[in-house]
Symmetry: C2
Subunit: 236 residues, 2 copies
């Protein structure tokens, strides 16, 4: 299958590598391919430059966001929450009729708040939108002809592509969206990733809960120790 | 142990009954005991009047919030989020030096929002505070001499007092707070309730994640079907 991954950060790379390993034709999108390839320094998260990574992953094509979306039958949005709506809006034509999986948390970094939450890397980002709207709903309103599915948002992306990293893979993946066929496509992909417990939370509005879970995910991560792979299992 | 439960709703009743069953001396607090006992109609959630319930649970004493807090060595706050800060502020003297467990979600009902979330019972309430503050932190700032522990907030209260209701009880209870001795007291209580996996999320700021999980909890509940008992297990 032709799959576009928009974004070149650590999370996007986990999907790109796994999809290539599964035999898919992967098209990667970035704002400015030349600038992305010219970068030689690690980013703010310490992720090595994309050109270095790409050299170890032959056969991956790098395009603009819109061109990558045009090549994909399925599109995975790995653009950070702050920039996703604008970038996807510019690719609306190429996204029409396609399944668009969004896993971004709409973080606002360095927030100026009265009661900051200190974390190992600075102040906890705040969420915008939050509570009465979600990034996934904003994206669906921005590209109404795409079929947005919120998924992959309640785990680190290296656990998303390899659920066995945590426990024996006995945890739950969540998805939400308005389009049953798109959710079926994402469920097939998740099954190929190794997921066995996939819970459909229903309409896209459930993405509010999935995105807001980010602070709970961080708190659990701090408690277990940074870098410990984990997931949550819905026990019923 | 002398334990005060502030509140007379369905969640508070689950704790009152279980604590009495465990042999504790339970003191129940309400705004106006006479008014509470005079009520003869079910509340907005369909919960029967407290006087009816009390008739089936002999030996339970009903007081004002402050008097109940004064009797308790450990205090459980079951006052709804909208009224908790004001009510606990009025009982600050009686709460000084005591462990105060808060399980409230700071819901604002009937919110006027641009993109409402329809639920089986109307529009999803919004959260206030949210993201950059939490009700638990507000309560700790309001009664600084109390030892606030956020707990019991990621499950229905009938599951909190009986974790075996979901799966075989193989799910996780979370707590957070600034006072290690208070967290140890709450851990002992949870162990008596039957919990085996209790994860300390650290400082009280983690309550933001626990309270914001409410929307994820609702979405999972809708997906499983209203009334299905469930919990989440941190798989690591």
């Amino acid at each position: 299958m032709k799959i576009a991954v928009l974004g070149t950060g650590g999370g996007a790379r986990a999907h790109i590598a796994k999809l290539a390993e599964l035999g898919h034709e992967v098209h990667v999108g970035t704002r400015d391919p030349k600038a992305t390839l010219a970068r030689t320094e690690p980013d703010m998260m310490g992720t090595p430059p994309f050109a270095t990574w790409l050299a170890d992953h032959p056969g991956i094509e790098l395009h603009t966001f819109a061109d990558a979306a045009g090549h994909g039958e399925l599109v995975i949005n790995g653009i950070d929450g702050r920039n996703a709506v604008a970038a996807l809006s510019a690719a609306a034509e190429q996204l029409a009729g396609k399944t668009l999986v969004d896993y971004a948390v709409p973080y606002v970094y360095n927030p100026d708040v009265e009661h900051p939450w200190p974390t190992p890397w600075g102040t906890m980002p705040k969420l915008d939108p939050c509570d009465t709207d979600s990034l996934a709903e904003q994206i669906q309103r921005t590209v109404p002809a795409a079929k947005v599915v919120k998924a992959f948002v309640t785990q680190e992306q290296d656990t998303v592509v390899d659920p066995q990293k945590a426990g024996a893979g006995e945890h739950t993946m969540f998805l939400a969206g308005e389009h049953a066929d798109a959710k079926a496509t994402v469920t097939d992909l998740l099954t190929a990733y190794g997921w066995t417990d996939i819970l459909d939370l229903g309409p896209l509005v459930a993405a509010r809960g999935m995105e807001m879970y980010a602070h709970m995910h961080s708190a659990i991560g701090f408690a277990l120790g940074f870098g410990t792979p984990f997931g949550i299992k819905v026990v019923r």
